[in-house]
Amino acid sequence: MSLIVENLRIDFGARTVVHEVSFEVSPGARLGLIGESGSGKSLTALAILGLLPEGARASGSIRLDGEELLGRPDRELAGIRGDRIAMVFQEPRTALNPLRRIERQIAEPARLHGRLSKAQTRARALELAELVGLPEPAEILRRYPHELSGGQRQRVSIAAALSAGPRYLLADEPTTALDVTVQSEILNTFDTLVRESGSGLVFITHDLAVLARIADHAVVLADGRVVESAPVRTLLEAPQSELGRRLLAAARRTAFRPAPITREESTND
């Protein structure tokens, strides 16, 4: 019973962007995928869901509780997405459908997989809105995404991802686009909910400070390769890789300066 990624490789035409990435998560376990932008973290998550952008090809192996996912037709993967593996995306401004009320989006995976009746969906939506701590849930459900703050929208995304009770949850920098103060609150909510749900978590971030609060084990990615895989505690005390040391230094700096990290080194793109 686990989600196993083995020797995952992702190519765009002749360019290989992810090489031989392997890791494993069990339900209840909390894995952090950390690296700089362009290191292939997000693509790895998308590959698990079978949602890689057009032109990208994944090879290797991705096994969900023993079943191979790579190469499965989209129709079969659609039955898994949202139900057994869910994902929270990075950008709350664009991740929700601007033309639909929150009510129709917050319980979407549950509705798609749970065959809920209309009344049940409505009840579930309200329940979820309360669960993720949205203020005035009944009122907020009637609104459209643009009428919510970034933090509120991200709470909606988290609620939606958890709505069908997925065994595994992928979170792609869910707090990066938010204000620092909001970031912390959302991270707390997220942490609690995932703990309660018992889902296995793959948390993607570039920020070791955030990772330290959420994950137990860390996989460090650089240029699409795993350069270090260790318990977060080890990474915080004695990082083995060059990137690990740099991330630690950056995390220490942010502790004093709550601003987005700017990097000197450019990555592969």
Binding site: F12, G13, R15, E54, G55, A56
Partner: protein
Amino acid sequence: MNPLRKLFRHPAGLFGAIVVAVLVLSALVSLVWTPHDPVFTDSARRWLAPTWAYPFGTDNSGRDIFSLIVAGSRVTVLVAVGSALGAGILGLLLASLGALTRRWVREGVAVLIDVLIAFPTLLIAMLLAAAWGGSLLVVIVAVSIGFGVNIARVTRPEIRAVLAADYVLAARASGIGSLGILRRHVIPNILPVLIVQLSWGMAIAILAEAGLSYLGYGAPADTPSWGRLLSELQTYIGIQPLSVLWPGAVITITVLGFNLLGDGLRDVTDPTLADPILSETVPASNAPVSPAAAAGATSDSSARETEPAHITPVSPDATEAASISETPETQEGTR
């Protein structure tokens, strides 16, 4: 890379350039020679089937349809070039008025552009035809107004953007007047956009000429024109239905040619597209090469060296396109 070469690597652009070149060539040749006299009538040879001597057959009065089409290209070129000139001048004038002048003039021009956009070109032409009687000049003036407004709408924001750029402010500060700025900075910057628009505008002009000549308000009765030929052949559509195929197909291919040339020029001159071979491909570095693009790349090595080499000087578009590449460089220099 030389934009002309880029254009010839662009399959659609190459097709457009060839069509336009053939059109211009046939218009020029028809001034001195056509296979048969296009207006000579001979009832003995009416409705001849297509043969080598009469490739598209003959019409009800025995005129050679192929010669009529070749001769008709003169009207097409005249209307296309005339309309492009008129639309370009009017468009730039309106756009400059809408960007350079005092605020109330600018607002007024903006409203005028919005209203004129709602006037379909054909209605403008009918209005003018009611006042002046139908003629090719009416067609040209109508398209100039109808499409000129379109050009004004597209180029006005571009002009305003150029005017707000730092190097223009610097030029202003150093005492260069409005006209100088227009000539040195504004025109070179909007030239790529303008040329693309004009290519599309010529396509519209050709359709407008065909439509108006069909209605009887375009080319005069004794002048061979594609639209007029289409309407004459339509009279006998019950007798010889297939004869309408020729002028219609020629108009379609020509319009398609100008449209594709415009598309090609846009892709070649638009710096926001990384490697614009064909709009079919995804404009990203990781896009797989589409089969069409690959076909274009192979076919151009032979075509580039031979045919278009002598065709290009004839085509006004192609020669103008050559100046596009200068734009960014001169801009760097003047900065």
